[in-house]
Amino acid sequence: MLFPPDFLTRLEYLSILSKRVFRGQLLAQRRTVQMGSGIEFSDHREYSPGDDFRYLDWNIYARHGDLLLKRFQEEQDLHVYLMLDCSKSMGFGNPAKFDLARQVVAALAYIALADLDRINLMAFSDTIIDEFPLTRGKARILPLMKFLENLEVTGESTSISRGVQGLVHRSGRSGMTVVVSDLFDESGFQTGLDQLRYRRYDGHVVQIHDRKEENPPMLGDVEMVDVETDSNRKVTVTEKNIRQYKKLFQEHQGSVREYCRNYGMGCTQTPSHVPFDDLVMNMMMRAAGHAPAKSGTGG
């Protein structure tokens, strides 16, 4: 069962815990800082023709003769965009990575909704598959969970960039974006995440992998079946190949961590057998600057 009967109880527990841990540092408690028609002064900029005269700083013009426009900080509610990878590779493993991904998405959505933030859920694989529109209020968690339950792994490949493109096109403004995926994007996960950066989305990556992906239990003559493309590949797997695979896998994981660290994105890497609440708790502890509560996550 994806969402057991006590799932909501555990979500509530996480929500309360998050408020104690962050004390207003997370999500809706931390407002977006945008320039606009707020009342709190931010800075000046030079006047350009067509600017509203009401915002000209006449005092400065009087003293120095320079036309400068006053800028004010506008406070808005945080928009949390959750991007869930629904490619077939997410259905791999026991338990399937997709199960943990949906549970994590539900947990983060609940915490955000409880903090009066707006959430938007995008299900993608090689393109946007489905969308849970921007919504607000704790009461929306049940429709969201139903939405998640109805989701299935589909698509022939994983394309984060297409998913991000869909998000960008649909969302009216930037916000915090959590990408939950295995990041097995043959075109490269960096392309999609770059687009998030360029659009000034505050990004966080939750990368899920299965133990069999980390240590593939195969040796000898086998026929590999790619669960995404259903393509076969007859190979003889030697111990040397296994060693090479492990090396490549670890390099891939390392490249994800390296990318997130370089561009200030949050990163959580976890095997699929970790309980979702432990994982979310660990994410929050990291965000709050505490030491990680459990191994298996990073970022």
Binding site: D182, D226, E239, Y245
Partner: protein
């Protein structure tokens, strides 16, 4: 080439599933992977670099098919026509004599010979046959002709070394008989060469070998029926497998081999110029001058090229009797006769101790170091002949009651024997004690007392005889020389002063009689006890008779106690011994023989047979294959549940190696010259074809395993 089991080729059908499995190998085990992005890098970055990698699966199939082919061919048991034509019949003659225990060849000569014999057995080809003959005291067929190598090897491993002397002639002859007129026969003798090499023309080629390893070998004893049946069975088997022997001679097949008759004879000698010192003789006998004394004859031989010092320690029932220091020159045989005295008797044992080189000093009361033991092992390569035993029976004191009116000569004759306790009375007693020899001189009761009675010069009638007239100057003309009572007694043509004519009521056994058939000395048969009668008047006897009479009394005393007075000599290993069967001891029970290693064997059974019904007086025991003290005992069944009572041992037999040839471990030059390692069994290519096929299959198996490993482990 032919196939012994062509039907085994049907196993070639196993190739079909192999090929099917190879084809099905295209449908490999499916393993789902979440992404191919890593595997692509691995497999596409390193494409097959050579044709070898492309074809290694096909090569694997070919190797598997070849492996199967070899195994199927091996199961079909192929053989060449020349193998069938030249099938060999080989007899291994294994020497297990005492000298084979020597340690100059590691671990021992015998073990080295057995290992070599096993190697030879391994070299048998298809249709070859091999038999194993043991060159013991009597040749023994350990295993008849067989081509089954495991059975041959098991039989070889079951052979034990003995203390027997080396007797190769009869074993070789038996081997030749087993081979018969087979064109490719060969007798391979595995020995240490410590024997005289048998001459071709003196071998008992046509003689019938007696396979005699059965102890308690008797011809008539019912109890030994099983043993005799075994002998008969063995002889029947031999007669079945021994074809009529062709005596045509044929030149030897190879230089260095000996052709005996038409059979090739080859030698495998396991020996070196080993040093040894040993006891070659140890016998004991009664002293001729002392009734309580005995003489020991001991011989020690230094069978080495070095001077040796040692001690000969003689003990009697663990009490030291004598210690003789010996300094033996190279090859010296030392012999000495020793006079000792003992009434109690016991087991007399001789041991060589403190064996050392001529230049080495004797170290007293110190534990020998490893270096000392190494030196000792070099000087004395065989320890079995450092010990010898002899049996000295106890001499019992005999009670004698002399009833005489007074004859000092008669009394002194008995009193002169230290083993006699003499009581003299002048009047006839009313009753006679038991366990006492009653000597009646002149006076005789109406009825002879029960038990042992020795009557001298009776003057009255009794229940056994009537006294007749006196005989003047009788001449003894008839002597029973076979009787123990007349040992060392010579009365032929002796003129006696006076005797009496006796009329016996039962026919006696006359030991000495006159020309007129009158009994002078007679053994009277009566159920109540033993009785001897001497009718000579002692008072009138002359010097000749007075010299003889003490000897007659000594013989009579021994006869009454059922002892001949002579010691039983120590036997040699491999000998057979005639043993008297004492009806009192063994009637109703079983005769048990105990080896020096305390292993008991029933050699005769007289269950349900009464003493009076026992017809057999003597049986042959042996051959004794181990030196030491063997024991003979009796065992009776208990009345409850047919169990057996503990064995009661009544006699001992001392068995010694006592052989100069066995002590001398140096092989004869003639034997060494004729020794050759190259028998027809030697060589790698003596094995059957299937052996090589299996070996090749094993190689291919390893190759396939490596191919598989190369695929998996890279």
């Amino acid at each position: 080439m032919s196939l012994a089991v062509p039907s085994a080729l049907a196993f070639a059908l196993v190739a079909l599933p192999i090929i099917v499995f190879y084809i099905l190998k295209v449908r490999l085990r499916q393993v789902p992977v979440s992404t191919n992005m890593f595997w692509k890098q691995i497999f596409e970055e390193k494409p097959p670099r050579s044709i070898w990698q492309k074809f290694r699966h096909l090569l694997s199939l070919l190797v598997q098919l070849l492996l199967l082919g070899l195994m199927v061919f091996a199961l079909a048991d192929p053989y060449f026509s020349w193998q069938a034509m030249k099938a060999r019949r080989i007899v291994l003659v294994v020497d297990n004599s005492a000298s084979m225990k020597a340690t100059d060849v590691s671990p021992t000569r015998f073990n080295a010979a057995i290992e070599r014999a096993i190697e030879l057995a391994d070299g048998l080809r298809f249709r070859d046959e091999m038999a194993i003959v043991l060159a013991g005291s009597r040749p023994d067929v350990v295993l008849g002709m067989s081509g089954h190598i495991p059975t041959l090897k098991e039989s070889l491993r079951s052979i034990e070394v003995s203390d027997n002397p080396t007797r190769l002639d009869s074993a070789i002859a038996l081997g030749q008989q087993l081979i018969g007129d087979h064109p490719n026969g060969e007798v391979v003798v595995l020995t240490d060469g410590c024997a005289d090499i048998p001459q071709n023309d003196t071998l008992p080629l046509g003689g019938s070998a007696q396979p005699g390893r059965v102890r308690g070998d008797t011809s008539t004893d019912e109890a030994n029926a099983d043993a005799n049946n075994e002998i008969a069975k063995t002889n029947e088997e031999l007669s079945e497998i021994l074809p009529a022997r062709s005596l045509s001679s044929r030149p030897s097949q190879r230089e260095g081999d000996i052709a005996v008759g038409d059979t090739k004879l080859s030698w495998q000698v396991f020996a070196s110029e080993a040093s040894n010192v040993g006891i070659t003789q140890f016998q004991v006998r009664r002293s001729l001058i002392d009734m309580l004394g005995y003489e020991v004859l001991a011989s020690v031989k230094n069978a080495s090229d070095n001077a040796i010092k040692c001690r000969l320690e003689i003990t009697l029932s663990d009490s030291v009797v004598d210690v003789i220091p010996l300094e033996l020159k190279p090859g010296e045989l030392w012999s000495r006769s020793l006079e000792k005295t003992s009434r109690e008797g016991g087991i007399l044992s001789a041991t060589l101790t403190k064996i050392r080189g001529d230049a080495d000093e004797e170290v007293e009361d110190e534990k020998p170091t490893a270096e000392d033991l190494e030196k000792l092992a070099q000087l004395n390569q065989l320890s079995s002949d450092d010990f010898a035993w002899a049996i000295l029976p106890e001499q019992k004191v005999q009670n004698v009651l002399i009833v005489t009116e007074g004859n000092l000569f008669l009394r002194k004759v008995f009193e002169a024997n230290p083993l006699v306790n003499v009581t003299t009375v002048t009047e006839m007693p009313e009753s006679f004690p038991t366990d006492t020899l009653v000597v009646l001189h002149r006076l005789v009761p109406k009825v002879l007392p029960p038990g042992d009675v020795f009557v001298v010069d009776p003057i009255e009638d009794c229940d056994q005889w009537s006294i007749g007239k006196s005989i003047e100057n009788p001449i003894v003309t008839e002597i029973d020389t076979k009787s123990d009572l007349m040992t060392h007694v010579r009365l032929d043509n002796v003129l006696l002063p006076e005797a009496r004519s006796i009329t016996f009521k039962n026919d006696p056994k006359i030991l000495a009689g006159t020309i007129s058939k009158e009994a002078v000395y007679a053994q009277i048969n009566r159920p109540s006890g033993k009785c001897l009668l001497l009718s000579v008047d002692l008072d009138k006897s002359d010097l000749a008779f007075r010299t003889t009479f003490p000897i007659m009394v000594t013989n009579a005393l021994n006869w009454f106690v059922e002892s001949s007075g002579e010691l039983r000599e120590s036997s040699k290993t491999g000998d057979l011994v005639s043993w008297p069967i004492d009806s009192k001891t063994f009637a109703g029970g079983a005769m048990i023989l105990q080896t020096p290693a305390r292993v008991e064997t029933e050699i005769a059974a007289f269950h349900g047979v009464k003493a009076s019904e026992m017809k057999q007086n003597e049986m042959t025991i042996g051959p004794f294959e181990q030196s030491g003290v063997w024991a003979i005992g009796s065992q009776f069944m208990t009345k409850v549940a047919q169990g057996k009572e503990p064995v009661e041992f009544v006699s001992n037999i001392a068995v010694n190696i006592a052989s100069e040839r066995e002590t001398d471990l140096r092989p004869t030059e003639a034997m060494l010259e004729r020794s050759n390692e190259s028998t027809s069994l030697s060589g790698w290519f003596g094995k059957p074809v299937w052996y090589y096929l299996i070996a090749a299959a094993a190689v291919l198996f390893v190759a396939e395993w490596l191919l598989h490993q190369r695929r998996v482990l890279s």
